[in-house]
């Protein structure tokens, strides 16, 4: 789950990290009022879950409240990377002397968090990491202990933070780790971290992604979730317990098990097709589950055929077949279905499907081939 900048900054402020004073606005008028209250030059910033907002015209400086209103008017309802902007954050402009980068994320190889600090801030840290990795200082705190003072100091020395700001930045790194740990973050970044002309430090931007698996205990933050209309289908699927990702092809995919579904997507690609989605129904594919999954896949109007790939383990193939038949009887789908059942009681399941208005295949490769053929406008034969 991603938080907006203004939400992430609230959490930083609670942890004692200095942030610029700011206000949220949903209309140009509110943005103007916010700028007036802040009294001085402000920055109007689009609140969307996308990087590169500045380059996309989502961040603009306003010298007067009038200008803030105009900028907000231009930014609100703009699309940035396919996401509609519904809020802007109006913030007092900083007096910037230098920009740093400070971030914490998971280092999968080391199975530890990694704290990264660089005196090259304000740009894509992945680019810096790729082209000049020596410009990023890294530390791997033990998650049981957190960032210790000596580790925070070492980061500042390694990154070449000016002596005047060393203590303030080291303190910020420790506080930021506190937020990372407390919020179950998978990523937390201050980029840029401003050193101002008066020598003070300030979080210029903030990014915070929270581990979906930890939302059961992040009771406050889970209510902060803001879903863009473009993400609604994926949200609905998640509420049903499915993992769903929309892709841009025309073969709808339903399967049980993330690896198997990925394998099915690959099988479709192997025969020249394009998957319309990833949908993992998880364990126990019963009738109601199959029905809900089909509805989600068919809600995508690009879908021209649906491939259902179930490998029965604890789930029995005959039960899955009954579920599919019942769904077809009640809600005949508008596009052809290809079913591949394997594993426990698969033969019994396949027998039940004989005569049904769908194609049944015994292997994943054959099923993928048939689904791609049908999506390309091929005629259905039904169990020939």
């Amino acid at each position: 789950m991603k938080l907006h900048e203004y939400q992430a900054k609230q959490l930083l402020a609670r942890a004692g990290i200095p942030i610029p004073e700011g206000r949220i606005a949903t209309t140009p008028e509110e943005a103007e009022a916010a700028a007036r209250a802040l009294d001085g030059t402000v920055v109007v910033k689009a609140q969307v879950h996308a990087g590169g907002r500045g380059k996309a015209g989502g961040i603009k400086v306003a010298k007067t409240p009038n200008e803030a209103r105009e900028h907000a008017s231009a930014i609100l309802h703009k699309q940035i990377k396919g996401l509609r902007v519904r809020k802007v954050y109006v913030e007092r402009a900083a007096s910037i002397a230098k920009e740093l980068y400070l971030g914490i994320t998971l280092d999968r190889d080391r199975r530890r968090p990694v704290v990264m600090l660089s005196t090259v801030g304000g740009m894509d840290i992945e680019e810096v990491a790729a082209s000049t990795p020596e410009k990023i200082a890294r530390g791997w705190p033990d998650p049981v202990l957190g960032v210790l003072p000596y580790q925070a100091r070492a980061l500042c020395f390694d990154a070449g933070v000016p002596a005047e700001q060393r203590n303030a930045v080291a303190d910020m790194a420790q506080r930021l780790y506190g937020v990372y740990a407390k919020t179950d973050a998978t990523l937390i970044e201050i980029n840029p971290l401003f050193i101002q002309n008066d020598g003070s430090v300030l979080a210029g931007d903030a990014k915070l992604d929270i581990d979906d698996n930890a939302l059961f205990r992040q009771t406050e933050l889970r209510d902060w979730k803001e879903v863009s209309p473009n993400e609604e289908v994926e949200e609905r699927a998640r509420a049903l317990g499915f993992a769903y990702v929309q892709l841009d092809g025309d073969v709808g995919i339903i399967g049980n098990g993330a690896g198997l579904v990925m394998g099915t997507l690959d099988a479709v690609k192997n025969v020249g097709g394009h998957a319309a989605n990833f949908l993992d129904v998880g364990g126990g594919a019963k009738e109601a589950v199959v029905k809900a999954a089909l509805e989600i896949v068919l809600a995508n109007k690009k879908v021209k055929s649906v491939l259902i790939n179930i490998f029965g383990g604890i789930t029995r193939g005959d039960e899955v077949a009954k579920g599919i038949l019942s769904v077809i009887a009640q809600h005949p789908p508008a596009v052809p279905l290809v079913i591949r059942l394997s594993g426990t009681e698969a033969e019994a399941g396949r027998k039940l499907l004989v005569g049904a208005p769908l194609e049944s295949r015994t292997t994943m490769d054959e099923a993928a081939k048939e689904a791609v053929r049908l999506a390309a406008g091929g005629k259905a034969h039904f169990n020939t």
């Binding site: 999968r108 998978t186 993330a258 690896g259 198997l260 990925m262 990833f278 394997s342 426990t344 292997t363």
Partner: protein, 290 residues
């Protein structure tokens, strides 16, 4: 022969709820020595003939359990793993799905200071066909033989084990290690176990997009491989930035792409199957060469 578990493994089931009880029964049917269960407050009672204990420490003292399988729901999974590690069980399998990743970094930190091998979380577990199953996999898809099999997936593991078994390619042990970003036994460690197991003749490595475990496994095989290996990577058609079901299956930036993993294996002389159906053929070819 096998890795990690065999006939003498004595299992305590942590979290004997509905799911735990069901799978404990299936494991016993398979021949696994399920000697105890834990359920705080239920010590002294029995479920389906399995004696229950309040703590893992008591279960170990009374029954000599040396392995555990965890069904405790995600909020308590870290606690269950740490309890097992603290009691020095040699093998711990965590089936639980949805463990927060920061819990897992803490578990990994303590795991490194222990002698426990942790499989999972969010995994099907492990099986030494014909001897011992500590997991939830449908046993009929597995058969004994010379193939060491490690996989990050669940259902795909069953699919491939089934294909191997049908082709007459039985397995020494199958390790379903789970698809989370932080797991107890990562792919390279699992590959090392099979490489050093005298009974394993060919290693089958099933990976997924995300992370760099496959690249490290390939590097290990290039430097230390004593026997042939065959690989498959799920998610070659996945776009960057989209999480493919498993929390760990995501391509971020140029990290974790299928191309990088396929290339690493090919550079290490490990053939990569384009589809699961190609795996048995590649394994047979490797057995002929080996």
């Amino acid at each position: 022969m096998s890795v990690l578990v065999g006939r003498d493994t004595r299992v305590v089931v942590q979290g004997l709820g509905r799911e735990g009880t069901f799978h404990a029964g299936r494991m016993r049917e398979y021949g696994t020595k399920v000697v105890a269960g834990t359920k705080p407050g239920a010590g002294g009672t029995k479920v389906d003939g399995i004696p229950l204990f309040d703590t893992v420490a008591q279960a170990v003292d009374e029954t000599g359990a040396n392995a555990s399988i965890i069904f405790v729901p995600a909020p308590g999974a870290m606690d269950a793993m740490l309890e097992a590690i603290d009691n020095e069980l040699s093998v711990v399998v965590c089936i639980t799905e949805g463990t927060p990743v920061q819990d897992m970094t803490k578990v990994a930190s303590l795991l490194e200071r222990s002698a426990t091998t942790l499989i999972g979380p969010n995994c099907p577990g492990l099986i030494t066909p014909g001897e011992c199953k500590i997991g939830i996999m449908p046993a009929e898809n597995f058969s004994p033989g010379p193939i060491g099999f490690v996989s990050r997936s669940g259902t795909l593991t069953y699919e491939i084990a089934d294909a191997l078994s049908r082709a007459g390619l039985g397995q020494t042990t199958c390790l379903g290690i789970g698809g989370d970003p932080v797991i107890g036994l990562p792919t390279p460690e699992a590959v090392r176990l099979f490489n050093e197991d005298p009974a394993t003749e060919v290693i089958v490595i099933v990976g997924e997009i995300g992370g760099s475990a496959e690249e490290h496994a390939a590097e290990y095989m290039r430097a230390h491989g004593k026997k042939p290996a065959v690989a498959f990577i799920a998610g070659r058609s996945a776009p960057p930035g989209k999480r493919m079901g498993h929390a760990g299956a995501i391509v971020s930036g140029n990290q974790g792409t299928a191309e990088s993993k396929v290339k690493a294996f090919e550079d290490a002389g490990v053939p990569v199957a384009n589809a699961p159906s190609e795996i048995p053929g590649l394994v047979k070819a490797a057995l002929r060469r080996g």
